[in-house]
């Protein structure tokens, strides 16, 4: 690649860039643009339209304004799923961020062992939700699962992980953390490798302790990555669906039902299309707000420093 580059460089011909706009470029963009409009733009607008109508199955529907939204906010099950989803985000995102950072700090060396361990912690990321939930359901089976065997061996009080309403969402969160830990870890590893090593050398000369080096050098250098990881994970975990559906079917007693599960049930099991569309717009807004709030917080912090 180097050789042809330099020969091209020697031909010093100034090409006057044709400033007139041509439609050729649009032709290149067109294939993607058509799919994008058909699969995202139109469905998004139509989704908002649907959310303002009373629609069942494929009937044309009747305009009812914001009634779908109003009814949602007095729907106990929907409110429960909103609370569950926030609780789930609270269970998973801090854990993913902290464990991911801890792993990255421990694995931030280029040695064969560290490479292998990194590979192991990333491996679960490539599995499908079906595989992950199957594995964890087998782990959580009462009486005979790995967990209950461990609890028996330790002489602890057994926990009905998937059928106790207090534990169902926590169990789903544990499986999710196991599944998703690879990405935050690798993002942190990448960030740590960007920190110039002479910073640490200078600190060592000044006699800085290990925790001082972490607090004054490492932490400020990876602040951006921490915020990034939190945003990515909030947006991802807000969309909890497959794990809860396959591990607990949202139960017991809706204790692990998420917003996306509500949309799925309303839209594709009860065919209450209008309600489902309204709920999906609310989810869309929540995700947007979560991401924006995070950006806002990060910018404020940066300004005050």
């Amino acid at each position: 690649m180097e050789a042809p580059l330099s020969t091209f460089g020697e031909i010093t011909v100034t090409i006057v860039k044709s400033s007139r706009t041509s439609w050729t470029g649009l032709l290149f963009v067109l294939p993607f643009l058509i799919v994008f409009i058909a699969m995202i733009v139109i469905p998004l607008i139509w989704g908002i339209y649907l959310s303002l109508h009373k629609v069942d199955l494929f009937g044309p529907g009747r305009f009812i304004g914001l009634e779908n939204y109003v009814r949602l906010f007095s729907n106990k099950i929907f409110l429960q799923t909103v609370i569950n989803t926030f609780y789930f985000v609270l269970l998973t995102v801090p854990a993913l961020t902290l464990i991911g950072m801890g792993l990255a700090l421990a694995l931030n060396k280029e040695s064969p062992v560290q490479n292998i361990v990194r590979g192991i912690f990333f491996s679960s990321t490539v599995l499908s939700v079906t595989v992950v939930t199957l594995i964890w359901r087998i782990i959580f089976i009462p009486n005979d699962g790995l967990m209950s065997n461990i609890f028996t061996a330790m002489d602890w009080q057994p926990i009905a992980f998937l059928s106790d309403p207090n534990w169902s969402l926590i169990s789903v969160a544990i499986a999710t953390i196991w599944w998703c830990i690879g990405l935050p870890m690798m993002l942190f590893v990448a960030a740590l490798q960007q920190i110039p090593s002479d910073l640490y050398e200078a600190a060592a000369i000044d006699g800085a302790r290990k925790w001082q080096r972490f607090y004054y050098i490492t932490l400020p250098s990876i602040t951006r990555t921490i915020i990034l990881v939190i945003i990515i994970e909030i947006v991802m975990q807000f969309q909890l669906f497959g794990q809860a559906l396959l591990m607990t079917q949202g139960g017991p007693n809706n204790s692990s039902r998420s917003i996306v599960m509500f949309i799925y049930d309303a839209g594709f099991r009860r065919w209450d299309v209008g309600t489902a569309a309204a709920a999906s717009q609310i989810l869309f807004l929540l995700i947007l707000v979560a991401a924006m709030a995070q950006f806002f917080v990060s910018r404020k912090k940066g300004a005050s420093q």
Binding site: L5, F8, I11, I15, T21, S22, W23, G25, L26, L27, F28, V29, P31, F32, L33, V35, F36, M39, I40, V41, I42, P43, W46, G47, L50, L103, V113, I116, V117, G119, F121, F122, S123, S124, L127, S128, V129, T130, T133, L134, I135, W136, R137, I138, I139, D144, G145, L146, L183, M186, L187, V235, Q239, G242, G267, F268, S280, L283, F284, I287
Partner: protein
């Protein structure tokens, strides 16, 4: 044991040249010097435990597991559970469906993204800025926000339960366009200018001169798309309602609805391992590329 002694031997040279140290002391010293390593190995085992447990169960007969899962720790082991999976003729159909959908989606995403990326990076055309911004905003739209309307469109066009129906929504993800735009921008423009002198048209420049240089980006985008498509659960669950059109992810999930009752524990475990196997093999061979691609894709 030998590598252990080697490690401790090098430590001994540094610390004390005496030869009369017993191996217990050696070992103790090695432990003290490798605390982090030991913690890492312990953590890895903890991480792998769910997977290893499932592998163990999958190799035991269902009858033996009825008596207790601790049977996992001793012989005899058997492959019967895997043989039972193949009794279900649908499994290979699902595997083939997954391959067709994933490869098809990857192929078309690469083509559409490259074409659009080249235009946004190199060409001037009307409405370029506004089109780019609209696509940029598309990144913020979660799949659930469009799912109801998308389902109705596919119903109206009778495209559910078809490969096109499974592939098409995946082609609208804006991420690939951004990745390719950035990558095309990074290629020195002198290359195009030289090709223009040779009377090459825009498409020839794109196809013969620039596209071969974008191979690393194609690999990243290709791996990401393939993985996403292979593991996708939401859209196939909604669109593929006939068993013959299930992907592996949907099929395996559907075939274990009556969990732990009708089917034995060993059989369930073998299903998990069987459906994990293709992607684990891909991961082992392409680990470096996959990690780079996913970590790079995370920072959209």
């Amino acid at each position: 044991m030998s590598h252990l002694n080697q490690a401790s031997a090098s430590e001994v040279c540094v610390r004390s040249p005496e030869k009369s140290i017993s191996w217990l002391q050696n070992f103790g010293m090695w432990l003290a010097n490798n605390k982090l390593l030991l913690v890492l190995i312990a953590c890895s085992l903890l991480m792998l435990a769910p997977f290893l447990w499932t592998v163990g169960l999958s190799l035991k007969s269902n009858q033996e597991l009825m008596l207790g899962a601790s049977a996992v720790f001793h012989f005899p082991y058997t492959l019967n559970n895997y043989a039972d999976i193949f009794q279900n003729s649908q499994v290979f159909r699902w595997l083939a469906n997954s391959l067709i959908v994933s490869i098809g989606m990857t192929f078309w995403v690469l083509i559409l993204s490259s074409l659009a990326g080249y235009a946004f990076a190199r060409l001037e055309f009307p409405f370029k800025k506004i089109i780019f911004v609209i696509i940029l905003m598309g990144l913020a739209v979660p799949e659930q926000a469009v799912i109801m309307a998308r389902h109705q469109i596919f119903s109206a066009l009778e495209m559910h339960n078809s490969y096109v129906g499974l592939i098409l929504p995946g082609l609208s993800a804006p991420f690939g366009v951004f990745l390719m735009t950035q990558f095309f921008k990074a290629i020195p423009p002198e290359l195009d200018e030289a090709a223009t002198l040779d009377n090459a048209n825009k498409f020839q420049i794109f196809w013969y001169v620039l596209l071969p240089l974008t191979l690393p980006a194609q690999a990243t985008l290709g791996i990401l798309t393939f993985l996403t498509s292979w593991n996708d659960y939401f859209w196939p669950l909604i669109s593929a309602t006939e068993q013959e059109m299930y992907t592996l992810t949907i099929g395996i999930a559907s075939s274990q609805q009556n969990f732990a009752q009708s089917e034995g524990l060993g059989f369930l475990a073998s299903q998990a391992i069987f459906s994990a196997l293709p992607i684990i093999l891909v991961y082992i061979f392409f680990q470096k590329h996959i990690v780079t691609a996913v970590a790079g894709g995370g920072v959209k």
